[in-house]
């Protein structure tokens, strides 16, 4: 099947410079994971029709996702089936006055080329990463590929969305797990974008934020004061594990512009497909692109073409893909599923179709398509030599054929 894209190699003589640029200009502070270099030597060269198709599908998925979470906020009895922690379930009643127009909604849909066409594996609805990789990486790579250009910029889209909802020069708090450089790199990138556009930036841990009269207030020593927006890169389920977990209840019904608002957890759960028919929301795109998904209690244990996923898993970890995960890992996962099936989901495996380089190497690809307030906002590419995109996957920039060169598409 032709997906309207191919892999192009970064010229060997330029790769070293490219990698250094990626580390510092594209905030890639984790260029090595174990023995794996996570900066690909390739780029995805995509034709315009494919870019437009993926953007259109992501926009449809985004709208359907927002409709589902708004419907769920009114039918919270269904949220009990999503495998959410009890602390979050108790806080969900505060979502009843959620208004999407007062917040910024960021999502990333992960598309995979498969034997039967494009499919999605998930939406990263709560705290999607890959922002610098989608915004800066293509700009760094474009110099090596005439006729191809970066396609949209998710950081700019986020900035513009906030400019419509936040006062000029206001304080933007970037809330993250401060002990992790990998998370700080995401926040630093967005913070620099906001700082260059006149906003005051604040890098904060969750426990630096207090909620007073439904507004966020910063408590960092020497920098105390009001916060005008919250950009969170700290998973909502982690907030429930903090020592002063009740402090963050204020986030659920706050007036401070948030990205993402806690309502995102409702569609972050991989168990969403188990209840979506009860929401009275029309979701044809989701149903067409997501593989069949069932409660693990209803999956035949020996089924080789089904995989198990944690309800709140991220980065493709903790997934039992036979052939990609080790036998021991699969056994561990199956044991965990037997113990708490309500925190897992079973999904029919799709068969990823790899792209082949000029040297004959096969790589499996995942194109994460960002949306900001329902509009497509850029591509985040990752690739692996095996059909599972995990933490060892290499980041690969996606470049799109310029319109005047569209007859050269491969």
């Amino acid at each position: 099947m032709d997906f309207g894209m191919k892999l192009g190699a970064i010229p060997e003589k330029n790769y070293s410079d490219y990698r250094y640029d990626v580390i510092f200009k594209a905030y890639k502070w984790d260029p090595q994971v174990g023995d794996s270099n996570t900066v690909a030597k390739y780029v995805v060269l995509m034709n315009r029709d494919t870019a437009e198709l993926l953007g259109r599908l992501a926009e449809q998925l985004s709208e359907e996702t927002m409709q589902m979470e708004e419907a769920l906020a009114q039918k919270l009895y269904l949220a009990k089936k999503l495998g959410l922690p009890n602390e979050i379930k108790k806080a969900l009643t505060r979502l009843s006055n959620y208004d999407r127009s007062r917040n910024v909604r960021l999502m990333r849909f992960d598309f995979h080329p498969t034997k039967i066409g494009w499919m999605i594996s998930e939406v990263n609805s709560d705290v999607p990463g890959g922002l610098a990789e989608a915004s800066v990486l293509p700009a760094v790579a474009t110099r090596y590929f005439d006729g191809y250009s970066p396609h949209k910029n998710v950081a700019d889209s986020i900035l513009v969305a906030f400019q419509h909802k936040m006062k000029p020069g206001g304080v933007a708090a970037f809330v993250h797990a401060t002990s992790y450089a990998d998370d700080r790199q995401v926040m630093q990138f967005l913070g620099d974008t906001f700082g260059q556009n006149g906003y005051q930036t604040l890098y904060a841990a969750p426990d630096h934020i207090k909620w007073i009269d439904k507004k966020a207030v910063n408590t960092i020593k020497g920098l105390e004061g009001n916060v005008d927006s919250i950009i969170r890169f700290f998973p909502l389920e982690w907030l429930a594990n903090l020592p002063q977990k009740k402090t963050w209840l204020g986030h659920y019904d706050c007036d401070t512009v948030s990205c993402n608002h806690p309502i995102s957890i409702l569609t972050q759960s991989k168990r969403l497909p188990l209840i979506w028919d009860e929401l009275d929301v029309d979701i044809p795109t989701w149903k067409a692109l997501l593989p069949p998904t069932v409660d693990p209690k209803h999956m035949h244990r020996q089924a080789d073409d089904w995989i198990l996923k944690p309800a709140l898993g991220r980065v493709g970890e903790g997934i039992s893909i036979k052939g990609a995960a080790s036998e021991n890992e699969c056994k561990l996962i199956e044991k965990a599923v037997r113990k708490r099936p309500q925190n897992w989901v079973a999904q029919q495996m799709f068969h990823s179709q790899p792209l082949t380089t000029e040297n004959g190497e096969d790589y499996h690809l995942c194109i994460g398509v960002f949306t900001v307030d329902g509009k497509s906002a850029g591509f985040y590419g990752r690739m692996n030599p095996y059909p599972h995109i995990d933490a060892r996957a290499k980041d690969i920039p996606v470049l799109v054929l310029d319109e005047e060169d569209s007859n050269h598409a491969g």
Partner: protein, 246 residues
């Protein structure tokens, strides 16, 4: 005077065998370089580079950088693994990193004067204060950090490059490093400990949670993290550390 990319290139040149593990975090926001010299110590515990021995220097603050430069003088490749970030202000940070940044910055001048072979054995540099301090102080920026197995080469990779021994130069020990050393030892690498005197072979005690469901899943699901939003596990806590190489 170098910018951050130039300084990082000096510490992590692309033709050096072990440089790809160098962490860029503290190079991301390097200050203007001041005209200052570092006091690089002489080493009593080692005389020359041993190509079958990798070194892990786990010393407080910038002492690791200084010993790393001293090891470079005798033929080792210093590889900074500092992975803690700077906080919004110096006073708000739990782990002070300013002196490390400063030493890396000035140290790049020293390093350019040394001719280190591309296949030189590695000296990985860590800050033994990385988990020091109290985690949840009101208003403090928690920039404590851990080193994880995926921050370093695997035992298989080390052995494939001829490394048979790992020598830890430290005055303390941390559970996060013990997880790594235990893996190395289990796969046939000899672990040596040096607190400034003669290095001694040690047997690494099994770390808490090693290969338990909790640890396994925290590594699989939470702590193998990347910019794609690698979340889901536990947040490391200063109270969750142990001691006891040997």
């Amino acid at each position: 005077m170098q910018g951050n990319i130039e300084a990082y290139r000096i510490w992590a040149p692309d033709d050096a065998l072990w440089a790809q593990w160098a962490k860029p975090v503290l190079f991301a926001d390097m200050p203007q370089k001041v005209n200052e010299k570092l006091h690089i110590p002489s080493l009593d515990w080692i005389a020359a580079a041993d190509y079958s021995t990798a070194i892990i220097v786990d010393l407080p603050e910038h002492e690791g950088v200084l010993e790393g430069l001293a090891l470079a003088r005798i033929g080792y490749r210093p590889v900074p693994l500092y992975n803690g970030v700077c906080g919004p202000s110096l006073s708000s940070m739990i782990v002070p990193v300013k002196n490390i940044v400063h030493a890396l910055c000035i140290g790049s001048d020293e390093l350019t004067k040394m001719a280190i072979r591309p296949d030189a054995p590695p000296a990985f540099l860590l800050d033994s204060n990385r988990m020091s301090g109290f985690g949840k102080q009101a208003g403090k920026y928690d920039n404590r950090w851990c080193v994880f197995p995926q921050d370093m080469p695997s035992a298989a990779y080390l052995m494939n490059k001829g490394i048979r021994n790992v020598l830890v130069r430290t005055n303390s020990s941390h559970d996060d490093l013990r997880h790594i050393l235990y893996r190395y030892e289990k796969q046939g690498i000899t672990v040596l400990l040096c607190n400034g005197g003669t290095p001694k072979r040690v047997e690494v005690t099994k770390p808490s949670k090693f290969k338990s469901v909790i640890y396994r899943f925290s590594v699989i699901m939470g702590l193998t993290r990347n910019a794609a939003g690698g979340f889901g596990g536990q947040i490391p806590d200063a109270t969750d550390r142990g001691y006891g190489i040997g």
